[in-house]
């Protein structure tokens, strides 16, 4: 099977490849040793193509693409960059490329990138040349939406989602800023945060200023959105505009705070979260040092704990927003990577877990490629 789990880390890219039964995994790499890799993403339209977001301590941010399933990589000819600032405005320079999303099926070669500070960029040639999406980056409300409220890792534009039914219909999220929607290919945008808590703001009912950690759209039911937020996990079924806090149904002592959220690619009602300690000052580690995944089979109405095979105690996992994914197998595989450099896998939809790799650098991204 040409299945690969791409691991983007603080110090390079690794690949885990399984045998047919997903029992034996071989670790390959590193490629890009010493480079800071935020995201590695396959193009589902042309599976031989991949893109990754990279920078180094000295060198500026860029994108590399591969046309041969990651055997060789070419750097973008024009990486994401803001336009030159006028005298009157605050100059913006891309500090890191944080997120990559392949475009719509009908638009081969189109990719989107999200950056820090918050910027949306588009490529029409498989990631070779990138242009700012001025509809967002120069939106009249930009300075309000991306107000420079930084997470400890900076201000991040992420979770760019393209509606599989309509190439013009886009979603994105900013930490900190909220979820935004465009119906005209990015020319104009509007906030979409009703019902989402923003406990950290003076007025919790604001239109924007929220902190979505991860936003997903179900491929088979694109009106179904899930969001793992700084303040809980949510579901939204469009055209409704008000998010429903599905995390309310999580056990109280576990709470509903975390970074990633992953949906079953064939079942819009099945979703996984990885709760982390969001109490008090947000330690962002597995609750009580006992890591567990929680699954809902009914769109968030009830949740079940899945921790078979995971450490029972004193395991202070932190799993970042790009670092959890599912594969496409009939018996769905789930994967996550920790900031401690461990990759964990389940080949039975979360029923049991085992460690595939440890001692890797800090893991930023785990993504499945077929």
């Amino acid at each position: 099977m040409a299945s690969t789990l791409w691991i983007g880390t603080r110090k390079g890219v690794f690949a885990l490849r399984p045998d047919v039964r997903r029992r034996v995994w071989k670790l390959a790499g590193p490629q890009f040793l010493g480079h800071i890799i935020h995201h590695v993403v396959q193009d589902p339209r042309e599976p031989r193509r991949l893109a990754l977001a990279a920078k180094t301590g000295h060198l500026g941010p860029t994108v590399y693409t591969s046309g041969d399933r990651g055997r060789s990589w070419q750097e973008a000819a024009a990486p994401p960059a803001f336009r030159k600032a006028d005298e009157s405005e605050k100059p913006r320079a891309v500090e890191r490329v944080f997120w990559l999303t392949p475009g719509h099926e009908s638009e081969p070669g189109v990719w989107y990138a999200g950056t820090s500070p918050a910027g949306l960029f588009r490529s029409g040639d498989h990631g070779q040349r990138w242009e700012p999406v001025t509809g967002f980056n120069d939106h009249a409300m930009y300075s309000k939406w991306a107000a420079g409220l930084r997470t400890p890792d900076g201000e991040l534009l992420h979770s760019i989602r393209v509606d599989p039914r309509d190439a013009r219909h886009l979603y994105l999220a900013i930490s900190i800023g909220g979820v935004f929607e465009s119906t005209d290919r990015g020319a104009d945008w509007a906030p979409l945060n009703e019902g989402v808590a923003a406990d950290f703001l003076p007025d919790p009912n604001v239109a924007y200023g929220h902190d979505p950690h991860c936003l997903i759209q179900h491929p088979l039911q694109p009106d179904r959105l899930y969001q793992q937020n700084h303040c809980g996990s949510y579901r939204l079924d469009r055209p409704a505009r008000r998010w429903v806090r599905i995390g309310e149904r999580m056990p109280r002592r576990i709470g509903d705070i975390g970074f990633p959220i992953v949906a079953h690619p064939r079942d819009p009602d099945t979703v996984w979260v990885l709760p982390m300690d969001g109490s008090k000052v947000w330690p962002r580690t597995a609750l009580g040092g006992k890591p567990a995944v929680y699954v809902s089979r009914n769109a968030g109405r009830s949740w079940q704990r899945q921790d078979r095979g995971l450490p029972r105690a004193q395991a202070w996992f932190t799993v970042l927003r790009q670092a959890m994914c599912a594969d496409q197998a009939a018996r769905l595989g789930l994967y996550f990577g920790t900031t401690q450099g461990e990759v964990w896998a389940s080949s039975d939809e979360g029923g049991s877990w085992r460690c595939l790799a440890r001692h890797l650098p800090e893991i930023y991204s785990v993504s499945h490629a077929c």
Binding site: T56, H58, L59, F82
Partner: protein
């Protein structure tokens, strides 16, 4: 104007762009023009050193001969050596 050629010394993090060469030739009457020439021969290199607002990235310095460069419009004379220096940290 007579053709001018300058030697540019390349630090190790940027040698992926020069096929490993520790020095290359480029020309230009200003640092900016010289960097453009460098970019033509070694595509992608400039943006890793200089951001989109034309600021030299913080951990990289550019010198003309022994003199530090603070702005990209500084003049380069024929025969000047350009040095790109990255901060080292080992002890």
């Amino acid at each position: 104007m007579a053709a001018r050629v300058n030697t540019v010394r390349i630090p190790s993090p940027l040698r992926d762009y020069t096929a490993g060469a520790t020095q290359v030739s480029a020309s230009g009457a200003t640092v900016a023009a010289l960097l453009d020439d460098l970019e033509r021969a070694h595509p992608g290199m400039r943006f890793r050193m200089i951001d989109e607002q034309d600021h030299i990235r913080p951990h990289i310095r550019v010198f003309i001969n022994q003199r530090e460069v603070n702005a990209l419009d500084e003049a380069v004379a024929a025969g000047d050596e350009i040095h790109l220096i990255c901060a080292l940290s080992g002890g």
